[in-house]
Subunit: 390 residues, 2 copies
């Protein structure tokens, strides 16, 4: 993890930060290897200091940061900044202000009036786009777990069973495989069920707020997405789209099933999505942009007259084909029609072509992969086909 | 929900706010009845305006707010503030700044330079302490679901089964009963597993960071609490502590089990906790403070020489007996040694006396209740005893 810190320090220096103070659990975990509540001070030059808000012994066991002390509030931070030699009038401190609540930041501004506090998240997230070997291994393990979800889908889908019953078994199977049980987002106001979206028939074209594609309707207006008590019916399409968290790292995977035998039309639409899937994954390699991937997908859909249903329809329509993924489900880059970020080796991404056709159903395929020197490696062992569950 | 808005407007006026702009999903849900992404403008006087960031039709179905428009950013908000007649130089706007990230607040400060933006959460959370009939009914339903978790515990606990296997079945059982699957916290950096803490033997005295009592060790340093792959052993204490979310409202409940027959010592310690439990719930009624409840608990523990293990031990020790609960697991008041908040009718609270004895085990009892005119009603039907699973 020392390499991660050294890399980040170089970004801090290039951007005029005297130091970063990281408080968000995932940011701390990335550099310090502990999920315990800590503040991590990374000076632009010199040694980091890890301030354990609690569970000091535990933090010392988890982390290989050399200097670990007990501390939490503004005073402790001031002392740490002084001891790191970065505390002087007018210095710029970096915090993850896309996450840190305003009250907390304002409190720090009061206790450190000599500093200005600016958002350091863009630098951090840019660095986190490329994963190291250990991170890639964890994401691979997360993706391999999907096999368990698939087995449940193949066993449990039948007319009369509810989305919720299937989802509860998907969770149990994933959890026994060491799914952490909490899919994590960067966004402050987003949540996802830990059993994933098991969504069927008429619920596939009810598109709820936060996500743009298949969301389902959930159980109540308080969490208006996710599996519901709707029973499956014969001939329906059923999508599962699930975020699996293994040792803190995520895979995001989707497959589509038919309750019974697929119709010719279901097969035809699936084949289009499969064609998109194959084309965009084949295109992935260092140097390619999200924009280029989106264009490839779009042109195939246009050629089949399905572009109006790609990633939703009408006002509820996205213009993306995927996103970065790692400690959080939705990391940069967003691979959309405007994405000029260039893919590089060791980036991990999820690509997710989907069509949602009102009064008809949805077809979804999603996989998580790592960009290699010459292409990409897709992690999930479950084949990409339209599964008929008979 | 109109009553909730009228009550809040009176608080806004008493505290010099021209309006509140609520963006946090739970805050919006409380007043507007929708979990879709919205911003809710509540002027100190006059009609609220609900700005739907997405899924406008869905929002219109969910909410009985009269004025619902599409809108998201600073410009839409400015128009809404103008149309609500509260937009002039120097007005104070209230946001939930304990939640809203700094970047978002700063962006709003830039697009609304005429306003100052202050934290309105304390007013909102104070109002939310007392629940109405519909809220109490949802919390009661959440608590009743615990019966399902208890049945799993009674069926599944045996030597060799892992904490994780039991927890995965607890989840499946709760989920089929319409547990929303996502326990929600007010705190920006807290998370809890949706299957709850199923914690056994030596893991009961490993106290991890965020919580102060029985936490378990989890699966990896990335989420270092929760159920683990540790197998249960004969004679161990096993605690389950779970937050159940039904229609957006939570119950927080814990029980203790023995794998096999309880020893005399386990029974003795349980009886002390049961005595604390009975004494503090018997004491609950309007007018009582958290301080008084803590004192009652503390004195009983002292009389049995167990105060050193109450709510943890050594540095990992809490000085509370419970907390408010509702749309979030950890609402005010915190019922601790310093709590002078006076309980009032229709407050919903969780009381949770626990002892954690290193190299021995833990005993926990927790229930969620509503304060009535003369006492309280405990919701969960599962009896409070030391369950022997043989």
């Amino acid at each position: 993890m020392l390499e991660r810190i050294v890399g980040f320090q170089s970004r801090l220096r290039s951007n005029g930060f005297a130091a970063a103070v990281l408080m968000h659990p995932r940011d701390v975990y990335y550099f310090a290897g502990t999920g315990q509540p800590c503040n991590l001070l990374i000076p632009a030059k010199g040694e980091p200091i890890l301030l354990a808000r609690r569970a000091l012994d535990w933090v010392k066991t988890d982390s290989d940061i050399a200097t670990i002390i007990k501390g939490s509030g503004g005073k402790d931070l001031r002392l740490a900044l002084q001891s790191a030699g970065v505390f002087k009038n007018g210095v710029k401190l970096g915090l993850s202000l896309d996450i840190v609540p305003t009250v907390l930041c304002r409190k720090l501004e009061q206790s450190l009036p000599e500093c200005t506090i600016e958002d350091v998240s863009p630098l951090l997230l840019e660095q986190r786009m490329r994963k190291d070997e250990k991170e890639i291994a964890a994401i691979r393990s997360a993706a391999e777990l999907f096999q368990r979800a698939h087995e449940v889908m193949m066993q449990e889908l039948r007319p009369g069973v509810t989305e919720l019953e299937v989802a509860s078994k998907v969770y149990a199977a994933l959890r026994r495989g060491e799914h952490e049980g909490i899919p994590r987002f960067r966004r402050w106001d987003a949540t996802l069920h830990p059993d994933g979206l098991v969504i069927s028939g008429s619920n596939t074209w009810r598109i709820s707020g936060h996500a743009m594609t298949v969301t389902g309707v959930g159980l109540s207006p308080s969490v208006p997405w996710g599996p519901s008590t709707k029973p499956l019916a014969s001939g329906e399409t059923v999508v599962i789209d699930v975020g699996i968290n293994y040792h803190g790292y995520h895979a995001d995977i989707a497959r589509t099933y038919i309750v019974g035998k697929a119709t010719a039309e279901q097969k035809r639409v699936f084949d289009v999505i499969k064609q998109v899937y194959s084309a965009i994954f084949a295109q992935v390699k260092p140097g390619v942009t999200g924009q280029a991937l989106f264009k490839t997908a779009w042109e195939i859909l246009v050629s089949h007259g399905l572009e109006g249903y790609f990633q939703g329809y009408g006002e509820m329509k996205g213009n993306y084909v995927g996103h970065g993924i790692g400690l959080e489900m939705d990391e940069p880059p967003v691979l959309d029609a405007n994405c000029t970020t260039v893919l590089a080796e060791n980036m991990t991404i999820a690509l997710e072509p989907k069509v949602i056709i009102p009064e008809w159903g949805a077809i979804a395929l999603e996989d998580t992969a790592v960009v290699t020197a010459t292409g990409c490696e897709i992690f999930c062992p479950v084949t990409r086909e339209l599964f008929e569950v008979t």
